[in-house]
Every structure is written in C-alpha cells, then in structure tokens.
Assembly symmetry: C2
Homo-oligomer: 376 residues x 2
C-alpha cells in the first residue's frame, strides 16, 4: 500500500490511491456498517412500512410509506473547499457560492437516481471555529449559492446545522454536507434498475468539469506545478478556477423527464471512480459507449499532468459525463432533447447489451469487466 | 468579547462563551441562512405541497405531503468525541458505542419534538483520514452502537457517508452527524405548539448526564483539574467516564404516548442553553417549575468546578432534565407513568401560565424573562 499523501513528488504517474484516500482501511468499516444497517430494516414494520430492499447500496435509500415512497440521503462535499480556500488566498476571489452548489449537487444528484423528486434539503456546515462564520462576504456567498441551488432543484431548504467544531474540524476550514429527502410518486417512477434490459440506450449528460470527485488527485497535481493553481489552461482559465466550476444540478432534467412521462430504467450519478459507475447496476449486462463526450479542459489537463492512460482517467474522473440515464431505445432521442432544453448537453451515447458484465468504450480502448473496482 | 479558548486558567468562574464558541460570529450567518431558507419554501408548490410554516426555527422542518407530514433534520454531535478520544488515550477503553448513541440522539430527539415518528436515519461519519477507520475495535463499536440506537428508536438505518477528509477534519478525529426523516401521521399529531395553553402541565424527562451539549465547558473544566478526566466524582466514577454516559433516546417515550393517543401540546429537547429551552415556544406564556429533578453527579461537579450559580448552570446544562413535554393537565400523570414504563424517570414538574413570557423556578431562585438568550 502507498501511504496516504505520499505522492507529492514529481516522479511518475499519480495514482488516486496515493493521493490521500486509502479505501482498504475504509472498506471493512463500510461493509460492517452496511450489514448492520440492513439488519435494521425490520424496524419499519412497526410503522406499517417496509424498505425497498434493492435500494440498499444504491445512491439513495427508499422506504415504501404507503401512498408513495420516501427517499433520503446524506452526502459530503469532500475536499473541494480546500481548493476554494487556496484560490481565495491566491486571488482574493470567493468561490463559496459554487461550493454551495457542489455540496447540494452531491446529495440531490444522488437522490434523483432512484426516481425521487427532491423536496427538502438540510445544510450541514461544520466549521473549525466560530471565526469561519465571521468572514461576512464568504458566509453570504455560501448562503446565496445554497439558496440558488435549492431553487434550481425545486427543493425547500429546511434548515440545518452550523456548528463550530474547534478540535475536530481544522481551524479556518469547513466540513460541508447536505441531507436530502424526497418522494417517488407515483411509485412506478422508481428507477432502481428492475426494468433495465438489453437493447436499452445509455444517454450521457455533460459535466461542467471535475464536479466534486477526484479532488485529492487534482490537489496533488497542483503541488507538481510550478505555478500551482494559477497555471493557465489552454483555454486561458486558471487551473484552480477551472476546478471550481460548480457541479451540474441534474434535478431539472429529471423533472423534465417526469413531466414527459419518461421513466429511466436506471440512472448512475458519475462521481467517484468515474465511468466505472456505469457498471453499477447489479445485473449481468454489458455496456458499450460509442459516443464519447468532449472532455472539459481541466480534466484533460489533469489527465496529462497525472500521466494517466484512458482507463485510469475514465476510471477516476467523470471526463465530461456527469450523469448516465439508461432508457428505452425508443425514448433515447427524446431524453437527449429534454436534457438539452434544460441547458444540459446530452448524447445518445451507448447501448446496454447482454452479459457478462463489462464496459466497452472502443474508441478509448477501454474494456472493463466485473472484476473492476468495487463500486457500491 | 472573550476570545475563544481563553478560559483554561484556574481563576474565576468559567463562562460558556469563553469556552470556544462565539455566537456573535455565528448568529449573523444563521439569521441570513434562516431568511434565505424561508424564501425557498415556495419551491414546494410545484410538487403540490407546502411547508408547515411554524416549523421554521423549530427543531425539525415539516412539510405537508398530502396524506401525512414529512419531517426532516440534520444534527451534529459536537465535540463530545474529543472526550472519548482522550479517555481512550488515558484508559484504553473505547466509548464509541456511546458516542454513536449520542449522535443519533441529537437528530432523533429533535425530530420527535414536532410529533414525528422517526423512520430513517443516515449516518455522517467524516474522519480526518482513512486511518481512523483502520482501528477495527473502535470502528466496530461505532457501528454496533449506531445499530442498537436505531433499534431502540424504531428507525431503519438507511446508509450514509464515511468520507476521509484529511486537511478538513483533523488527523485522528471524526466529525459525526445524523440526518433523520420521519412522518407525522395522522397530521393531528403535529406538536408545534398551537395547542399550548395556560393550565397545561410540564413533564420533565430525566437526562443521563451532560448528553452532548455543554461539552466545551466540560472540557475546559477538565483542563483546570490536576487529574483531568481521571478525577473521581463523589459516586466513584471518573469525570471523563461520567461525561460519556450516552444521551437518553426519548423516541420510545413518544411512541408510547402515540400508542396511548396522547398528543403533547409542545415539546422541548433540552440541549444547548439548558433550561432556557423551556422558553422556546414563540407564544406569550409564563412557565413555573416546582419539582426540580435530581442533578446527575457529573453536572453537579461541573457546576461546582466552573463556579456557576443556579441561573448560569441551568441556563447552560440540562441539569437532569433532558426533554420537556407540555401536556394537558388531565394527561400529565399518565405521561409520567408511560415514560417511567419506558425506563425514563419523569416528573409532573410544572405549569404553563399566562404571559408575559418568563420562566420561574422558585426553589432555585431562577426568574428569566423573554430577554434571556436568543434560543431559536
């Protein structure tokens, strides 16, 4: 095992595992927690309810509450705020409006994968001390960005927590997360993958950049650059600013599908592990992507700087595809049109085929099978 | 203003404001966030729903979803885990089972105040690095404690987040929070205080100790003691261990009331600001407490060590009363019996009277009016 944070040298390609997160330490806890969590499902019986068992391990947890299903989730921003802090130091510009959108997107983009309409978001803003909140301009940007993101997703901001956690959160830093509750109504909107079949099409929705996954890698790349975050990209933008493009909110696209009576057969929010998330469905299907979306310059830059081949880049970052909709072939073009009408570039990009489980992207030379990284 | 963390001397009484949390810095952000959040309520209309406006500023946010109400919340543990970490270092004993219960209690005890049945809990465990999860015994205690607390509250553990946030959360530490979703069903169970009236009784439910509020003060006290957390209390327990008694879960009491068709007129979870929380209801009522619950030894010890008078102690800590139920006078004794049958000591302790707004505890010489600390 590489030891965390050991990769800030200039030698050789950067492995994600070497940039600070050691999943071999987290995974046993995760498995134990998942088992313990599953054992609590029976608690719902006393309330006349039951869980949708296939939602265990999916992006949001779903309970059958009778007239409709209730979905819920909590999601963390991760370490993207560290980039905002550093860019603030370097340029004086505040990026916490974008950071707020990122945090909300982490929760909402996951919640909608199951077919839920997000209704209420709770904010979790845990600062390293009361001082964090004393920077009025930064605090105002966070509040305004959060409100605007809620409005774009059609959710009510219910409230939240703003603790000052000196001794737990580092001084000057903030730990951001969002909890989201929604409903699947009617229940037939549930998109946990039961309807997925060979012949379905894969519609990819554009990302805006790195979103909020792969930031440990992106931060490591910065340490290898003489100008760090101030390095200009080919399009003239600064590396640090390009990293801070806010995550696309996909809830409006899902709402448009709902209004058009289109129910995706499955959805994948492409976050950590990049395109490996396309293999997330538990069934025995093969997936082939023939149309590869354009790669945002910042991701191309990271790939080059990190010395990644296609498999490593697409297996770590979203590379331009932030969300995947698996839909009936007859509806794929309509889905693309609806997404584009929401301002989100979209492509009828690939096809679901029979098993064995694998992802093939011929133009990139990618051929992954079920032995690829544990995704759930 | 005292500067944070300036109180670790041995001179004079300890003020809560001097122990690390400066609310004058947080409050403007909080007010701005509350205003922005309130402005998003209209988003629910497009889903055919509306918020219960009086839940804004209460302990949980409530939405009318048609057949029933949906309540949700996210709550943070605070800094109690720092005490567990220090006791682990001093004694080798792991307290993360209790810490798990504390975290769950923060969310669930708040959610039930509005009359909601908690259904699903999401875990938020953000560690300072992957290494935190590598301590298998500690991780197992956290998982098991969480599961058991879920079972005692009748909630399903839906899932959660276990990020490793090096650079944001301090190395070796963990930031713990819980999100909870529940329903108020039937809607007549809503207990936001509309039914509160003069003549109602106040039933106090026992706490187990400090619960998870006032820990900054408790930690400051430890720094003034020659033996620190290893100081024995009068009952022989160690100060640090007594602090780590897990927070009482009040959900079983609320479930028992529900089963008995008793709807409290209002509820207050007594957390930060101690008994000032008894003044939380927005209406113009006076409250008089005639029966003061026994004070847990650890709270008595903190009060003595911090040099607090009754008003300061009861205005900071729960002092033995962890939850207050405001109920019809005719039901008060039944509520006490039901709580005791759940294993929670309870007292028919006081009465709601006409305004002006004030809290009177004659036996303690406490007379607070509406000018007391901002509570919402």
């Amino acid at each position: 095992m590489s030891s965390p944070n050991s990769a800030a040298s200039n030698d050789g390609p950067l492995r994600y595992e070497a940039t600070g997160v050691d999943y071999t330490l987290i995974d046993p806890l995760k498995v134990a927690a998942q088992r313990a969590a599953a054992s609590t499902a029976s608690q719902l019986q006393q309330h006349g309810m039951h869980e949708i068992e296939s939602s265990r391990g999916e992006s949001a947890y779903v309970v059958d509450a009778g007239p409709f299903l209730i979905a819920s989730i909590v999601e963390c921003l991760g370490t993207k705020a560290l980039v905002a802090d550093e860019m603030h130091r370097l340029t004086g510009r505040i990026h916490y409006g974008a950071i707020a959108q990122d945090t909300l997107a982490m929760a909402v983009n996951d919640l909608i994968t199951v077919g839920a309409t997000p209704l209420v978001v709770q904010a979790y803003w845990a600062a390293g001390g009361s001082e964090w909140f004393g920077d009025a301009a930064r605090a105002a940007a966070l509040v305004q960005g959060w409100r605007e993101a809620c409005e774009r997703c059609g959710v009510a901001w219910g409230g939240g927590e703003t603790p000052a956690l000196a001794g737990i959160v580092e001084a000057g830093r903030i730990d951001l997360a969002a909890a989201c509750t929604g409903i699947v109504n009617p229940k037939t909107r549930l998109s946990l993958g039961d309807a997925l079949r060979a012949g379905d099409r894969i519609v990819l929705l554009a990302s805006s950049g790195i979103h909020a996954n792969g930031l440990s890698l992106a931060r490591s790349v910065a340490t290898r650059l003489p100008e760090g975050y101030l390095t200009p990209l080919d399009d003239g933008s600064l590396y640090g600013e390009a990293l801070l493009a806010p995550t696309v909110l996909y809830a409006p696209v899902m709402a448009a599908l709902h209004a058009a009576d289109i129910v995706p057969h499955y959805c994948a929010n492409i976050t950590g592990h990049g395109w490996r998330k396309l293999l997330r469905h538990p069934g025995d299907f093969g997936y082939r992507i023939d149309v590869v979306p354009p790669v945002p310059p910042v991701l191309d830059f990271i790939r080059t700087q990190a010395g990644h081949d296609a498999a490593e880049a697409y297996g770590t970052l979203n590379m331009g595809a932030g969300f995947a909709l698996f839909v009936a072939a007859s509806q794929a073009d309509a889905v693309v049109d609806l997404a584009r009408a929401c301002g989100v570039p979209a492509w009828n990009a690939g096809e679901v085929g029979p098993g064995p489980k694998r992802l093939s992207v011929p133009s990139l030379g990618i051929e992954w099978d079920a032995s690829e990284l544990q995704l759930r």
